[in-house]
Structure formats: C-alpha cells, structure tokens
Symmetry: C2
Subunit: 208 residues, 2 copies
C-alpha cells in the first residue's frame, strides 16, 4: 500500500547489531534532514553524526536518496503511531483537539527547531524528486483520512454540523496544522500554532 524502499524494516524491540546500526543511522540522519533539509545534508555530515564508516553506511543504504526515503518511511511509521495514540478523548471532536495539542507539545519539546519533516520535505523535494513527494502525499492523505473519519463520527452523532464537507475540512485541518508549525518554527514560539489550533476549535464548534 505505502511506498517501500530498499532497506530492511527494523523492529526496535529485537535488534541485531546490524539493525541497531541501521536504526542509529536513520535516527541521526532524520535529525539532520529535519533541521537542514535533505539536499543540504552531506554524506560526510551523516558519517560525522553517526560515527559509521562510509562503507558501512552504503552497505545499509545504497545511496543518499535511498537513505532519505528510508528516513521518511521510518518517520512516517512513527508518526502514524503517534497520530493513532493522540486521537483520544470522550468524543470525536475532543479526539481531534487532543491530537492537535499533542502536535503542539511535540513541536514545543523540540524548541520549535526543525518543525515537521514531512512539511519540510513537501516543500524541498516535491518539484525535484517524485519519490519523496509520493511518500509525503501518502502521509498527508492518511492523516487527513483519520481526521475525516472523526469528523464523520462527530457529524453522525450530531456533535458537528459544519457547512464544509468532511473531506475538505479534514484536508484544511492538516494544512492549518502544517501552516501553524511553519509559523512556530519561523518565529520560534508557540503562538502561530496555538492560533491555528484556536481556529480548529472554532471550526469544530460552528453550527450551520
């Protein structure tokens, strides 16, 4: 269903030494890609950050592109788990709000550095490498689908009575959060994303 690349998937609970190295490379590369971007991160920087020898790095990831795609997929899998566990609350509207607040907490914990790897990749890579673009498309679509499901549940239980179709509202909520993360990263404070969550609150309260 989702795009895969040529690296072996790692179960973090049962790691061989090789898998540990692979996971270590993915983790350190993700940090660099998130803050500096993919293109602006060199293989030398990855080697310096991981302490892994060049030959060993290329053993696990045949090219920088394959490494970049593997980092995205690794981050995607982690994000989907976070998303799933953040959609909790007494009703579908509260679930969405809780999920938005969890994202704010995550961004705050990183001191607004780096922002969202998926949003960054969407803007950096989409016009130059369709493999990156496709993965980010799938991530945002999955995210929007999860929100859409909750909006439908909210509508069918009479909690929400919005003029905006659920598909459009769900897409817009993803966009609002991404825009908010961008502003919070830019100004290095939580206000931008908080204003966006306030707007999402208001959208989920609006009656026809």
């Amino acid at each position: 269903m989702y795009q895969t690349v040529s690296f072996k998937k790692v179960n973090p609970h049962m790691l061989s030494k090789g898998q540990e190295t692979q996971k270590h490379i993915l983790t350190e590369s993700r940090k660099l890609f998130t803050v500096q971007g993919f293109q602006n991160t060199s293989i030398s920087q990855i080697i310096a950050a991981t302490g892994v020898k060049k030959g060993n790095l290329y053993y696990y990831f045949p090219s920088k592109e394959e490494l970049g795609l593997a980092v995205l997929i690794d981050a995607r899998d982690e994000f989907f788990q976070i998303l799933e566990s953040s959609l909790v609350g007494g009703n579908p509207v509260l679930k969405i709000i809780h999920s938005c607040n969890s994202i704010l907490t995550l961004i705050q914990q990183k001191n607004f550095v780096g922002g969202c790897l998926f949003g960054n990749t969407a803007l950096e890579m989409t016009d130059s490498n369709s493999r990156f673009g496709k993965i980010v498309q799938d991530i945002f679509s999955h995210w929007a689908k999860k929100i859409e499901y909750e909006l439908e549940q909210a509508a069918s239980s009479g909690l929400l009575n919005s003029k905006i179709p659920s598909t459009s509202l769900a897409t817009a909520i993803v966009a609002i959060l991404e825009g908010g993360i961008m502003l919070s990263r830019l100004y290095k404070n939580k206000e931008g994303l908080e204003d966006c969550i306030l707007v999402i609150h208001s959208l989920l309260e609006c009656k026809k």
Copy 2:
C-alpha cells in the same frame, strides 16, 4: 523598517543597462530558488540561467547569500504590492476573500510548481540563517497585520462577530494559506488550497 541588503534598489520603469542586468539576475535567481530552494541552487546554475558572467554577477551581488537576500527582498516588495491590490471588495470580509482567491490564481498560473518562496524559505533557511528568517518573519507579520486591519474593520462594522481575537485569526489565516499552498504544490492540484479558502470563508461567517 524592513531589512535591507547591499544591492541597489531598482525602479523597473527607469532602468539603466546595469540595473536591467541586476533585475534580470534577481528574476532568474528567484525562479531557481523558488523551485529548487536556495541551498540547492548553485552559482553555476544562476550563471547558466542568466547568461551573466561570474565577475558581473559578483559585481552586483558580492555573495550567494547577498543574492539570496536580495531576491527575497525583491519578491517581498512585489508581494506587498500584489497584496495591497488584491485586498479589494465591497466590504472588509470580501476584501480578504478576494485576496485569498488572488493567491489561488497566482499559484494555479504557475501550475502549482514552486509554491510560495517565503514559505519555502521559512522552512529551508530559518534554522540555519537568521538573516533569511528575519525577512520572512517581517513578510508574514506585515501580511497578518493587513488581514488583521480588515478583520477589525469587519468587526467594528458588525460584519464579523468571531470568538477568535483578530490578531490570532489574522495569523491563522496566513498559516492556513501557507498550509494550503504547501498541499496544492505537493499534490499538484488546486483542491488543498481551495479547501483552505473554504475554511477561511466559514471563519469569516461564524457568529458568536
């Protein structure tokens, strides 16, 4: 008030040969920076795109950083003019909606390639170069202030009765548009940004 860099400002209506060259470099560099990003654009690519000799390029812009900043400032001045002329309509709410639709038209005219130079720069450069970040901060703040002014006008004339403070709503509208541009660029269609404008419509209709 706004940050300046070491290049001579150009009046497009009265250009000397040197100014024409300078403007030509800015225009072509902007195209490259918007689509590929700043870091990923080489001086060789700029020379190839402009046909200007290296010495000539460095005569006008002493470094790639100075060129990047000059491109941002040039794009900022153009955007502020576009913003000003897009905020038209029978009332403040219609002005905001018209401005949003103008942005959609602009993004569509470029076939969703490149997206927004300011959003791209916000994500690419903000954690690595504060001079770029500062200019984009000023741009988004100015944009939000313009929208905030219209929201205040709408509120004082009874057109808008939002629970959200004007400052927060204005900031969120900028974030929503940036998020929408990101999605439209990623999926190469207008739906993402259209959904966002639909949400802005709804926010401007909401009554307490």
